[in-house]
């Protein structure tokens, strides 16, 4: 492993030029406090043991690394393995980070947690952890997302969380984050903001990455056990980028392992029609470095710096900025970013359901669409690992229109 690739972020929360801390002054001391508390917690063997036990006994780690034999045969190229994060409690990888931050909130003496959610998976995981740990929980969700992910709204309410609809802007994930930040700035003394992706001000991108790094650690050991060698390619979908960085992180030092992040190509390449921030080589327009919601990264925006509208069939990928570490991996050429259209994702979901008996989340289906393009062009002895980050139950209303 090269030391440099694993030492980001620096002390100021920078991944190369990206990252940092761009928030109103009111949040600065609390972010410093959070950073200190996190550093102390991760160095505390007792805390880490408690987290590991919860991940194992409550969430269901380790997750299997399944050889997708029928999909491999169907595509006729590389051997495809699926990291089955969809089998975790609550149905997606999000619970890894929620348990980590939830236990940290308890350690910090916070009685109330707030979160934003797009697809609802992070909201459900947060509500679940809040119930498990006895914390008050408020989840902000765009009203457009509440409409398209109704099942998850009910799940959160069932778990005792208050779901607050956000009717501003595009009424999606970005607006939910704005509202969560306003809550946090108001109630910062009693409240922990349980941010759900590798976004926001330092230390969030680093902390959320660390809590998901178990995905790649397990996958590495599992593939070495199964194939006696490292994979050739890793593929994951990228909204904010938490499941992707979780898979990639432990492999960053392995130069032979290619990494591919798949963004939401939506319904076209024009600004407003997609949520592809890093796949500009594929012709998607409108992304430039900028500051949104606490961090400096690649942002879809107008020439005069207003944040652009985005579109994706998948609420979890429908966001105008990307985690700063991904922007840095893209700039260095360490990871490659591409995009899958709404249509390709829905087709991919159907393929996986019928060939492997797994209904994937629409987010994960974007990664699968890339596999369908890529695997047939690879040699039969090559290995791909895809992060199957979530299951598709929540998307059945949308998917049922395409049966």
């Amino acid at each position: 492993m090269t030391a440099t690739s694993q030492t980001w972020p620096d002390a100021r929360g920078r991944f190369g030029p990206y990252g940092g801390r761009y928030v109103p002054e009111t949040l600065m001391a609390p972010l410093e406090e959070l950073e200190r508390a996190y550093e102390a917690a991760r160095a505390d063997a007792e805390f880490m043991a408690l987290l590991d036990a919860e991940l194992k006994n409550f969430a269901g780690r380790p997750t299997p690394l399944q050889f997708a034999s029928r999909l491999t045969e169907h595509l006729g190229g590389a051997r495809i393995y699926l990291k089955r994060e969809d089998l975790l409690h609550t149905g997606a990888h999000k619970i890894n980070n929620c348990l980590g931050q939830g236990l940290l909130a308890v350690r910090m003496g916070k009685k109330r947690i707030i979160a934003e959610t797009g697809a609802g998976q992070h909201g459900v995981a947060t509500a679940t952890v809040a119930a498990r740990l006895g914390l008050e929980c408020v989840v902000y969700m765009g009203t457009e997302d509440m409409e398209r992910q109704r099942l998850n709204v009910s799940r959160m309410r069932m778990l005792g969380a208050e779901v607050v609809g956000v009717n501003a802007g595009s009424r999606t994930l970005k607006d939910a984050i704005n509202e969560a930040m306003r809550d946090w700035v108001t109630n910062v003394r009693t409240t922990h903001y349980l941010l759900g992706s590798v976004l926001g001000a330092h230390p969030y991108p680093r902390m959320v990455r660390d809590f998901h790094a178990c995905i790649g650690r397990e996958a590495r050991a599992q593939i070495l056990a199964a194939e006696k060698r490292l994979p050739d390619t890793l593929v994951a979908c990228v909204g904010g980028g938490s499941n992707a960085i979780g898979l990639f992180y432990d492999f960053l030092g392995d130069a032979s392992v290619k990494m591919v992040g798949v963004e939401a190509g939506g319904r076209g390449t024009g600004l407003g029609e997609h949520a592809a921030r890093l796949a500009f080589q594929a012709g998607f327009s409108g992304a430039r470095p900028g500051v949104l919601q606490g961090t400096y990264s690649c942002v879809l925006q107008t020439p005069d710096g207003q944040i652009a509208a985005t579109h994706s069939v998948s609420a979890g990928l429908d966001y105008p900025a990307v985690g700063p570490e991904h922007a840095w991996l893209a700039e260095q050429g360490r990871a490659e970013y591409t995009a899958a259209s709404d249509e390709a994702a829905i087709d991919a979901a159907r393929t996986l359901a019928r060939i492997e008996g797994i209904i994937p989340a629409l987010e994960s289906a974007h990664a699968l669409a890339e596999i369908i393009l890529r695997a047939p062009k690879m040699r039969r002895e090559e290995i791909i690992i895809m992060n199957l980050s979530g299951r598709g139950d929540k998307d059945m209303e949308i998917l049922s229109k395409y049966l």
Binding site: R12, G20, R21, Y22, V23, P24, E25, T26, L27, M28, A29, P30, A168, G169, K174, D175, N178, M181, R182, V185, T186, N187, V188, R189, R288, G290, V291, L292, Q293, G294, V299, Q301, P303, D304, G305, Q306, I307
Partner: protein, 279 residues
């Protein structure tokens, strides 16, 4: 810094200290409901006795603002307001008034224009400085350099959560005045000022010799009177923006904010300002 001539902001606060009068800093969102209207409204505010006018640059994602300013930003963006347009407004205002003008923006529009381009354009237009809501001194090195090179003030925020060490850093990075946020939260009016406010202002006072303006939640003459013994200026924003939202025309909006500003300025004149010798 000492080589720079003082800005209109610094000069105005000097005059206020000399007269022992509490200043009034008035915020409006530029372009709400249109840039031509903002020109009329700003001139009316200057006429009514506002000591500094803050021109808000509308942003699509105003995380530090409450619902009133959020709606104002939406109205301003809907009619096509850009940072360039706001700077043109400053230029037009400057031909008609010498009131200190402070640009109030989120970072991204400024960053996209380019920090040096922004500073040059703001100085050329006749602005006196800027306050960027979502940068703190840690991330502001290049921005401060660009502003300083053009003789513009950089106002930073101090918050109830700021530690003494942070207050010291904020004081070192600020010129013109220091903006103290009265309570944790977003912009917007409240009935009462936070009980912790006097202690906070005393902590800030210990960290800086700069004038102190207190904002967030200030809307009533009695708030302003209370600040008289405490701060150098009161910032009023949402209360003015709410008047603009209610008004049926630009003329009516200008009249309404002027009436409100005059009432608040009257309270400021009656209030006893802190009696310290001028430095």
């Amino acid at each position: 810094m000492s080589a720079q001539p003082p800005t209109r902001i610094t000069r105005r606060f000097k005059e206020l200290r000399r007269s022992g009068e509490l200043g009034l800093v008035a915020y409006i969102t530029a372009g709400d409901p249109a840039l031509e209207a903002s020109e009329q409204i700003a001139l009316a505010l200057a006429e009514a006795g506002a000591d500094v006018i803050e021109l808000g640059v509308p942003f699509s994602d105003p995380v530090a603002d409450g619902p009133v300013v959020q709606r104002a930003s939406e109205r301003a963006l809907r009619c096509g307001t850009t940072l360039g347009g706001v700077l043109d407004l400053v230029k037009r205002l400057r031909t008609k008034t010498q009131v200190p003008l402070l640009l109030f923006s989120y970072y991204n529009p400024v960053l996209q224009m380019g920090l040096h381009e922004f500073a040059a354009a703001a100085a050329d237009a006749g602005a006196d400085g800027a306050l960027i809501t979502d940068i703190t001194p840690e991330e502001a090195g290049e921005y401060r350099g660009a502003m300083r090179a053009r003789g513009l003030d950089t106002v930073f925020l101090a918050a109830p959560t700021s530690t003494d060490a942070r207050l010291k850093m904020i004081a070192e990075a600020s010129t013109g005045f220091l903006y103290v946020i009265s309570r944790t939260g977003v912009t917007g009016t409240k009935d009462a000022l936070a009980e912790e406010l006097p202690a906070l202002v005393r902590r800030v006072r210990a960290a800086t010799a700069l004038p102190i303006a207190v904002g967030f939640g200030i809307s009533l003459p009695e708030h302003v009177s209370l600040l008289g013994g405490l701060a150098d200026a009161a910032v009023v924003g949402s209360a003015l923006v709410a008047e603009i939202e209610k008004a049926q025309s630009a003329e009516a909006a200008a009249k309404a904010v002027a009436t409100k500003a005059r009432m608040l300025k009257e309270a400021a004149r009656r209030g006893i300002s802190r009696r310290e010798p001028t430095r």
